[in-house]
Symmetry: C2
DNA sequence: CGTTTTTTTGAGTACCCTCAACAACGGTGG
DNA sequence: CCACCGTTGTTGAGGGTACTCAAAAAAACG
């Protein structure tokens, strides 16, 4: 996964990534307040991060695809601050954090890699806040699809045609709107010829126009 | 600032925090796309983080008080991803990131401290997303005031009585609502006996009730 | 194949935004 | 010191976007 490491560093890194774990759709990788021991690299599948209000309402704070990293929220307090729940059958690499930390002391480039990963999370989250803060429902759905598209493209999948793994409700929860509104926006984009949908199957017909929404 | 360092480590840390810098109200500490060299500890004053849309609209993504750290968004890409603008005359400690990074390789506890700081930012931002995603305007303003109150308390200031340094517009922008709505919520809280306002001067009368909104 | 979950669509409503006017505040210069 | 001006804050009226409630169709699941 890290790119800037030399062969020896890579070998040492591989040595701490021992186990993998299978998570079934709907099961959790970790829960809020669980003690923090590991971070996880997603080998296959996808997850959502969820935080719970005291009143029981849930908020989806992110979706995580294969190739991305999960669990960094726990570094600060030694406890996770959200639930990580598989939205399809998935498998992850377990990276024991204590070992990673030790290894960081030995390898500067690995340390830089970890810091970059964390900083990347900060940037991702604040760009998301912008999504929720300044945009209309229509723009939010468009931005969400484009974000997903570019992340899938970066992993070697098609940028134009893909399956949504989450429900309209999860998407709406994440985007700060109701599931009906998400559905309406999809219908609208289809009417306007920007994309074609068939349930969770998405084909983006006019990527540029979607960006201009 | 770091607490878990021994004396020698603290001395070395101090040695890299050489300069301080004064920023006048309205001036920027750094701008989006500036090359990333330093992080900053706020000695006095307060800042806002702002990201700019292509269409020119701005989104405030955070407020930063004295005692907090600023600039970690740049670690990932070597460029800052937001503007940091002083909302009152302020002064910061300059912490050259390259030196901090080197020092991290020598001191494990410093390394942990830096990682914790970053993880803390991630947690803070995602709790903020919840704010924008699931709450009504009334609840958002209440949550914002409580958040500010607890941060001020943690720094030794009064939790009940303080000055807002930002305008209604900046607050509204941050919270995803219009300045008029912020103003109306303040008026409502005052009518309901939860707080007293006089412009930027705030006194929280009933902290519990504000939490139950 | 029946049951449950998910998605779509419609109608009515509530919340927040827009536009507007005015009041209060803070700085500036006469 | 006070008049003046720009900025900031408050409040009202009307309108639009997204929510709520509801029902039915479609898909997923065992």
């Amino acid at each position: 996964m890290p790119k800037t490491l030399n062969e020896q560093e890579l070998t040492r890194f591989d040595s701490i990534v021992s186990a993998t774990r299978l998570i079934k759709r709907g099961d959790s990788l970790y829960r809020a307040n669980d003690p923090f021991h590991n971070i996880y690299a997603i080998r296959a599948g996808s997850f959502k991060s969820v935080v719970m209000h005291r009143d029981g309402r849930e908020q989806v704070t992110g979706f995580h695809l294969a190739g991305e990293v999960l669990g960094l929220d726990g570094v600060c307090t030694e406890h996770h601050s959200s639930d990580a729940i598989a939205i399809e059958d998935s498998s992850v690499c377990i990276i024991p954090y204590a070992l990673l930390e030790s290894l960081c002391a030995e390898s500067k480039s690995l340390q830089q890699q970890v810091l970059r990963m964390m900083s990347g999370e900060i940037v991702r989250e604040s760009s998301l806040m912008m999504l929720l803060g300044t945009m209309s429902a229509e723009q939010r759905v468009a931005a969400f699809l484009l974000n997903l598209s570019s992340r899938l493209k970066a992993r070697g999948y098609s940028a134009a045609e893909f399956n949504l793994r989450m429900t309209r409700e999860e998407m709406g929860n994440f985007l700060g709107m109701k599931l009906e509104t998400v559905s309406r926006m999809f219908s609208k984009f289809q009417r306007d010829g920007l994309l074609q949908t068939h349930g969770k199957q998405i084909r983006i017909v006019n990527l540029d126009a979607l960006g201009r929404v």
